[in-house]
Symmetry: D2
Subunit: 370 residues, 4 copies
C-alpha cells in the first residue's frame, strides 16, 4: 500500500513537486551504520536537475537528516530525509486539471484522488520524488561496501544508439568533470559523445527520445533472495518498473533468451578457485539468479525508458470542460531524455532491494555492532 | 518474505514437487464470491503436464478445496487448495545434490537451505507450484467478470517466430479441441502450426527453445493501482518475473519505447462517448497505466522466457564432491518450451494482481453481499 | 489482514470447526530446524478435547505435515499442518443463523460475511482453530531450547480461586498422569484439587466459570523486541487477546502497577555476576521489557478468560426471523471453563511471538546451518 | 518491524526527544478527507507538557504539515507531520549511558543499538513521540465523525482512587478551562478534585503514582474487525500496550470476567428498534466485540499505567563502568502520573485502530469523493 519499497530495509516516499518538500523515511538500516554525508551529496548531485542540456529547473537539493542519525551513525530507527522545494513555478500548471497532459499521470491522479490531489508539476507522482530514493539508498553505501556487494549503472542506450556492455568498462574511476560522460552518467566515452549529439538534436527539434540504463550487481553471495515473489528478479523488477517512464526490464540475457536454444543458453557450474561459480559470468550474461536466489554471478539488468512525455512543441489533447481536443504547449522545464538522470535512481533501487533481501535472508547483520 | 503474493487478495504457495502435495492458501476473496468449480478444472487443464509433445509427466491434478468455501461460495476467510502428488519419480534425481543442474535452482537452494531442502524435482522451486497460482486465481474469475475486468493471454513467440498481436485476435471462442492452438495456448492458428513444427524439431534435436507470452488486461477503471511501488506495472512485473524461467517483461510499447521520440510515443486523451480515453488504445500499445494507475486503456504485457534448462542431451557441469566437470544426462520428463504452459500462469498472476490492487483501491467490494 | 500472526516467523490459520479440516501454514522457520514429532503430539495432547470433565467432543487430532519438512528437518519454506475433522455433529447447529447464541461470534460472523460463512460449531472462529497455533508453535520448541529461551504456562485462577505464582513452582517435571494437575494444566497440586472441585460444581449447575492463565518467558537476551508497536508487550498482548474468550492481559505487576508508587515500583539495575540484571526479577514481577525490548528479567503474563458462553441450561436470546426473544438450549459439547485448554495456546502464542521478534532482531539465525 | 501501526491506515513514528524534531508519517487517509487544523491544535494541547502540576517542560508543539495535504484536504498520499524540538536540556542526561535509569529503556536501547542510539531524554523511546500519534489520529476525526464512530477517553483512576464509569458521564461538553477536569483530562468533577489532591501529595513526596485511563468506542457497525489476530481487541491491545508505561489492558468486563459465571456474564441479543443489539450495552459492560468483530455495543477499554519511573528523589542503580550500585538523582522535568497526558494518546490509538480496521473491512471508503 502506498509509497513504500522493502520490508526489512524499507523506504517510504513523501512530498509533492510543488509542495514544501520531498523526501523519504528510511527504516531498517542497522544501528551503528556509518552515514557518509559526502557520498550522499555526491549521489544527489548525479541526479540533480539543472545540468547543461538537461532539465533547466534549479534546486539546491541539500539533504536534511531530521531523525535516526546520531553522531554520524544510524541509531537503527527511522531516518527522515528531506529537501525543501525552492524553485517551483506553480503558475506553469494553470492548465490543470482541465487539460491533462499526454503521457502524464494528471488524469489518473485526478480521478483516483477525486480531485483532491496537488497536480502541479506532477504532485506526488513527480520524478522529483526519486530524490528520496537516491538519498535513502545512499545511506546504504557503507553497509554494502563492507559486505563486498557492488552496484553500478550507466546510460546504456539513447534511441537506436547503444553503449558497449558495462561489465567490460571501467566502473571505478570518477567520470571526468564537465565531460559528457559525467553529464550523461555514461561510462563509455565514445558512446557519451554520440548520445550527447543525438540528445541535442532531439532537444533542438522540440522533441524527446527514449533511452535505457544498464546495471550490474556484483559480489552477492550464493543464495541471497527469497524464492518466488520476493526473489531477486521479482523484487528488482518491481522496484525498477516504479521509476517514472520505465516500460520494460530485462535480466541476464533478457529478451534474447526467448530466442535461444537451451543448449546455447545453459550456463554450467564450475569451480572458481575452491568456490562453485557459473561459467559465462565474465560476460555478465549468465543468470545472476536462479529460483530467485543469487548464483554469485553478476546480475545484469537493463531498464528501458520511454521518451519524456513533456515536449516543448504543441500537442493536441482533451480539454475536459469542453470535451474538445485543444492544443497544449507545456511550459515548465523538462529533460529531453530520461536515462541520464535515471542512472542513480536505478542504482538506488538495486541497493535498496539487495540490502532488504540481504537482511531478510540473514546475510546482513541486523545491528552493525553485534 | 517467503512465498506470498498480494496484500488485500493474497496467495501463498506451499508444497514440493516430490512431496505429498502442492497448493496455495488464498486470502482476501470477498465473502459470498461464487466459486466456479468448472472454471477451476478448465484452468487447471490448461497448465496440465502430460500433453502431447510437451512434458510427459502425468498427474491427475484434481483440486481439493479444504477450507474457506461453504455451499459454493467463499466465506471470506482463508481458502486452502491443494492437489496430491502421484506420479513423482524421485529416483530420477539421484545425482542431487552432488551435481547441480545447469540453469536450475538446485545449487542456490542447497546453499540457502544449508542442505535441508528437498531438491527432488526442483522441490519447492519447481514450476509444479504454479499449480497453486492457477487454481487460486481461478477463484477470482467470477469476481473479475462481474467487475467487467478481463484478462487474456496466449503464446506470443517461440524462438524467432512471432504471432500477430493478441488484441486483434478472437479472444472469446474456445480453442478447437486437440488442435495445436489448444495444445499450445495460442490464439492464432497459423502461428500455432509453425510454433508446433519448430517445437517438434527442437525436441527431436534433444534441445529446448525460448518463448514469450502476451497478455491483455482490459476493462480496468481509470485510477486503479497504487502510486510508485505498488503501481500496476511494478506489481505485475514482480508477479511475472516470479514465474520460473522469466527473463524480461515489457509493458505497452515495451522495449520499443526506448527507441522512440516523444512526438510519436505520446498518446493524447480524447473522448470515447462521454468518457475520457487514450487514443491509440485500439492497438493496445498505448500506456495502460500512467503513474502506476490504470488509464482505462488495455494493458499489454509481454513476458519472455528462457529455453527450459532441462534438455535430454548430455551436459557437462560441476560434480561438487570431486570438483570435476562431469557429464550429466538429466532423466525426468521435461517440456522443450515454457510458453505454452506459462500462458495460464501469466493470466493467473494478472488476475491476482488486479484483484489485489482493485480491493486496495476500493474498486472491488470487500464483501460480495454488501 | 486475515488470520495471520507474525512477520518473520508467521502462522496463518485456516479451516472450520465442521468443515474438512483445521490447521496452519507456518512460514519462516529456519531451514535445518529439527522437527520434533513427539513434542508435537505431546503439545497437541495438552489442548485436546475429550478429557474427563472438560469438553466431550472426541477428535483423534493426529497432525499431518504436508509440506516444508524433509527428512525430519524444516526446509525453510512453508510448512502446512492440518488435522482432519471427524467428530463434528453439524445437526446440533440447526438453530443458526436464526438464533445467534449469546456470547458467540455467530451474529458478527453472519453480518460480516453477508451470510456466506459456515457458522456450524463456530466455523472459522471456533476455538478448534487454536489447534493450528499449538501445532505450529510446537515446531519452534527445538529452536527456542537451543537459544535458551523458555516458555511455561499453567492455570492461574478459576473464579475467585488462585494458584501460587508460577515462578516459584516446579516447571520442569512432567505432570502426574491422570492427575488433576495434568487434566487442568496446573503446576500446583493443592490449587488443582480446589479448581477441580469448583469446576465440577459449576458443571453440575449447568453453568460455566471464568479463569486465567499465567505465563513466564525466561532467558530472553537484553534488547529483544522492537520499539513501540512491535515491542514485546504489544506483540504478546495482540496474540493473547486473539485467543477466544480472552478479556484482559497483564504484564509484570499488571493492574497492581496502576495502584503503586514509583518508589516502590521501580526496579534498579544491578550486577548478576558480570551481567546487568534487574533487581526484583526473582519474584518475576520486575519489568520483563522496557521500551518494548527485553530486560533479561523473566516476563510474567496473565491472560484472563471469560466463562465459556455455551452453557447447558436454557438461555433467552433473539430469534431473528420473528424478532422475538426465544429460549435456546445449546446442544453440542462444551467446556465449563476455558483456562485449562488455553494453557498450551498461551504458550504457543508466546513462543511464536518471541521467535518472530527474535528473528526480526537478528537474535535467531535465519538458517540453522549457517 | 520498526515503529509503524496499522496496515490500511498507518502511522510511522520518527524523531528523538533531544533531536531536531518528532513526528509521524501517516498513510492511507482517504483522498478528500478534510483536515481540521483547529481540532489538531486542540488535540495537541491536551497532551502538551508544561501544564500546571504536571511536567514542567515547555514546548510550543506547533504542528507542521509538510506533505499530503492540499488546500485543506488529504491528497490520499503520505502526510508528513512534525514539530521541532526547542526546549530540550540535553546536559541533564550526562549520566547516560553509564548509569541506566531504573524503569527506563536506557539499558535495553543501549544494548540493542550497540551504543549507537541517542539516549538523551529517552531518545526515540521517549513518550514525546506520542506527539506523532496524537497529531496523526487527529486527522481522522472528520472521517470518523462522518461514519458516526465516536471515541472518548478520560482519567479513570489514580492509585486507589477511581472515577465513575465513563459511559454514564457527559462526554460532549468542553471541560471548564483551567479546571482540574481539564488539567487531568477527567470527565467527573469530584474525581478530578480528589485525583488532583492525591497527585499533589505524591509530587510533594518526590514520588510518582500509577493510574488508568478508560476509553469508550461507540457507533461501530456490527462486523467491523478482522477475525483472530487483527480483531478489535487484539489490534487495540497491541496499540494500547505500546504506550509508554502501559502494564495491562482490559476489555468489556475485563478481569472481572475471569471471576464470573457464564449465566451472569452472557449478554443476549435483542431488538433495538429494528436492529439486533446486545442487552447490557447501556452499562458498556457487554462485549463490544465477539470473534474480533464489533457487536455494535460500545467497546469499553481500560489501560493501566505504572507510576512514572523518573522521580525526584535519589535512587540507587547500577553504575556500569564501576559495576557498583550508585545513587542517582534524575534532573529533568517529569510528570508524577502518566494517566492525564495518556488520555489523548489512548484516544489516538483507538481512532487509528478503528479507522484501519474499518478501511480493511470496507466500512470506510477508500476515497472520500467516491
Amino acid at each position: 500500500m502506498g509509497m513504500r519499497l522493502g520490508e526489512s530495509v524499507s523506504v517510504t516516499l513523501f512530498g509533492e513537486s510543488h509542495g514544501r518538500c520531498v523526501g523519504a523515511l528510511v527504516e531498517g538500516i542497522p544501528a551503528g551504520t556509518e552515514i557518509d554525508i559526502d557520498a550522499l551529496q555526491a549521489d544527489i548531485e548525479r541526479r540533480r536537475p539543472g545540468r547543461k542540456g538537461l532539465s533547466a529547473r534549479s534546486e539546491s537539493d541539500a539533504c536534511e537528516i531530521l531523525s535516526g542519525v546520531h553522531e554520524g551513525r544510524a541509531t537503527g530507527w527511522p531516518i527522515l530525509l528531506l529537501t525543501w522545494n525552492s524553485d517551483a513555478r506553480s503558475k506553469d500548471y494553470g492548465f490543470l486539471p482541465d487539460q491533462p497532459r499526454p503521457g502524464h499521470a494528471d488524469m489518473t491522479e485526478q480521478v483516483r484522488s477525486g480531485g483532491a490531489a496537488d497536480l502541479r508539476g506532477g504532485g506526488s507522482q513527480s520524478a522529483r520524488l526519486t530524490y528520496g530514493l537516491v538519498s535513502a539508498s545512499s545511506q546504504l553505501r557503507g553497509l554494502l561496501r563492507d559486505a563486498g556487494w557492488r552496484v553500478d549503472a550507466h546510460l546504456h542506450s539513447v534511441g537506436e544508439l547503444t553503449a558497449p556492455p558495462l561489465f567490460g568498462l571501467d566502473r571505478d574511476g570518477e567520470l571526468p568533470k564537465d565531460s559528457n560522460m559525467a553529464r550523461l552518467n555514461c561510462r563509455d566515452e565514445a558512446a557519451s559523445e554520440s548520445f550527447s549529439e543525438l540528445i541535442e538534436s532531439v532537444r533542438m527539434a522540440q522533441d524527446s527520445i527514449g533511452s535505457s540504463v544498464e546495471c550490474i550487481i556484483e559480489g552477492l553471495p550464493i543464495g541471497l533472495g527469497e524464492p518466488w515473489f520476493d526473489g531477486l528478479e521479482p523484487a528488482l523488477a518491481r522496484g525498477m518498473m516504479a521509476i517514472p517512464g520505465a516500460r520494460a526490464v530485462e535480466f541476464s540475457r533478457g529478451i534474447l533468451a526467448s530466442r535461444m536454444r537451451g543448449s546455447e543458453h545453459n550456463d554450467a557450474w564450475h569451480l572458481d578457485g575452491t568456490n562453485p561459480a557459473l561459467v559465462g559470468a565474465e560476460e555478465a550474461r549468465a543468470d545472476g539468479a536462479l529460483g530467485g536466489r543469487s548464483t554469485g554471478a553478476p546480475m545484469r539488468i537493463i531498464v528501458h525508458f520511454k521518451p519524456p512525455s513533456s515536449i516543448a512543441r504543441e500537442q493536441s489533447t482533451l480539454h475536459l470542460p469542453s470535451g474538445e481536443q485543444r492544443s497544449l504547449k507545456i511550459p515548465g522545464r523538462h529533460d529531453p531524455v530520461l536515462g541520464p538522470r535515471a542512472v542513480p535512481v536505478v542504482e538506488a533501487i538495486a541497493r535498496l532491494v539487495v540490502a532488504d533481501l540481504g537482511k531478510i535472508g540473514g546475510f546482513l547483520k541486523s545491528n552493525e555492532s553485534e
